[in-house]
Amino acid sequence: MSSNQIKLKIITPEKTVLEEMVDSVTIPTTEGEITILPHHIPLVSGLASGDIVARHGEDVVPMAVSGGFIEVKGVSGVTEVAVLADFAEHVKEISEDAVRAAQARADELKKMKENGEVVDFEHFASELERSLTRVKVADKWRGKKYRI
């Protein structure tokens, strides 16, 4: 096992989304976007909504994530990055239809907010955030090349 790679794990409460060795990973934290390379110092930070980009040689693996936290630590020479997200989805899983549905849902939710109909605010906020993230990330990666 080369120590010039990072062990990346993306875990949500529903499943382990990704677990593999990568060269580098770019993560949106609450303090701004950071790229983690091997031998990064141990770090704990909050995770913002956006896209995580894992690089492996020529391959690029983008994932849409929202909410959670990350932990970076070195275990016997190998840098381990654990992303504990509320929600994570590979960009390929976000189909055009899903984006349209998410967009429609986001618009609808926004309208509801304006009309003051929302009772269940917390649920609503996280759903809106999720829909917006989907749309944003899918827009960003449309037409770009990435590994499936």
Partner: protein, 298 residues
């Protein structure tokens, strides 16, 4: 042959019941499979986040964070919020009654303290009402395979109540899924996270793996992160406990239905035997009557 007719009717009705219980058994089995795989998948997150919390807890000095408790709170004056997780439907063996019994024991233990309840599942709600407990909220529309987005609002609601409602402790009464055959009802403390408990597990982990303390960098600052992570973990644990409970519910129901089907099968066998005996006795009697009649004629 009046007895024979009666027996035939009973056999038929039991056969119908057996068909239903058999169908319910199969349905529960497939639901159980799904629930179990969801539970196992969520355990990865649970394990990992707990590990992160442990490594963070080493930095906890005397914290002002209300989500983390030091030692030495007066146990007898606590105001406790209890979340009871049960099923919406019955016909699942002792699943609901076991966790309710555990809750009743808990209520007795904490007699004289203020206990408020949140009920998840219709059965628990009616049980609590019968006990005359104070239910502040009940959620009866949890699906068979709950998704995180279904549970999220409940987790938030509980957190909100804890932070603003003046509760000293939040406990969850749920059923831990051990295997398809064993489920244990449990009452676990959700909040606050006990500092001594964390320290204990850390000490154990250190002895086992001679783990060195890692000097983490915290972004943004430690206190903000810590409360965020504890909140996330609390929400995740609510999700996990509900998953464990649904997995337990389906396996309990499957087992109950399997027992019912088996019992129905046995009953059918017994009744069929009785029916055949009655039929045979009837025939024998008829023959003897006929031959007796013949003997008297000739």
């Amino acid at each position: 042959m009046a007895a024979g007719k009666e027996l035939k009717r009973r056999i038929k009705s039991i056969k119908n019941t057996k068909k239903i219980t058999k169908a319910m058994e199969l349905v529960s089995a497939s639901k159980m499979k799904r629930a179990i795989s969801a539970t196992l998948a969520s355990r990865a997150y649970a394990g990992y986040s707990w590990e992160v919390l442990q490594s963070l807890a080493e930095y906890v000095s005397e914290t002002q964070n209300p989500l983390i408790a030091g030692a030495g709170t007066d146990k007898t004056k606590e105001k406790i919020l209890v979340v009871l997780v049960t099923s919406n439907r019955s016909l699942c063996g002792g699943y609901n009654s076991q966790v309710t019994r555990k809750t009743i024991a808990f209520i007795r233990e904490h007699a004289g303290q203020t206990l408020d309840f949140i009920s998840i599942g219709a059965k628990g709600e009616s049980n609590l009402r019968r006990l005359g407990q104070n239910i502040i909220a009940s959620f009866n529309d949890i699906a068979d395979a709950p998704k995180l987005s279904d549970i999220y609002p409940i987790g938030n609601y509980i957190l909100d109540l804890y932070k603003k409602g003046g509760y000293d402790r939040v406990c969850v009464a749920y059923t831990d899924f051990v295997s398809a055959l064993t489920q244990t009802p449990q009452i676990a403390t959700l909040l606050p996270v006990k500092k001594d408990e964390l320290m204990e597990t850390i000490a154990e982990a250190k002895q086992n793996a001679s783990k060195a303390t890692i000097n983490y960098t915290f972004e943004p600052d430690y206190e903000t992160l810590m409360s965020m992570i504890v909140e996330k973990i609390a929400r995740m644990r609510v999700y996990q406990m509900i998953l464990e409970s649904t997995a337990s519910e389906h396996s309990a129901r499957m087992l109950a239905m399997k027992n019912a089907s088996d019992a129905a099968g046995e009953m059918i066998d017994d009744l069929t035997l009785a029916f055949n005996k009655a039929r045979q006795a009837g025939i024998t009697q008829e023959i003897s009557e006929i031959s007796a009649g013949m003997a008297s004629v000739s």
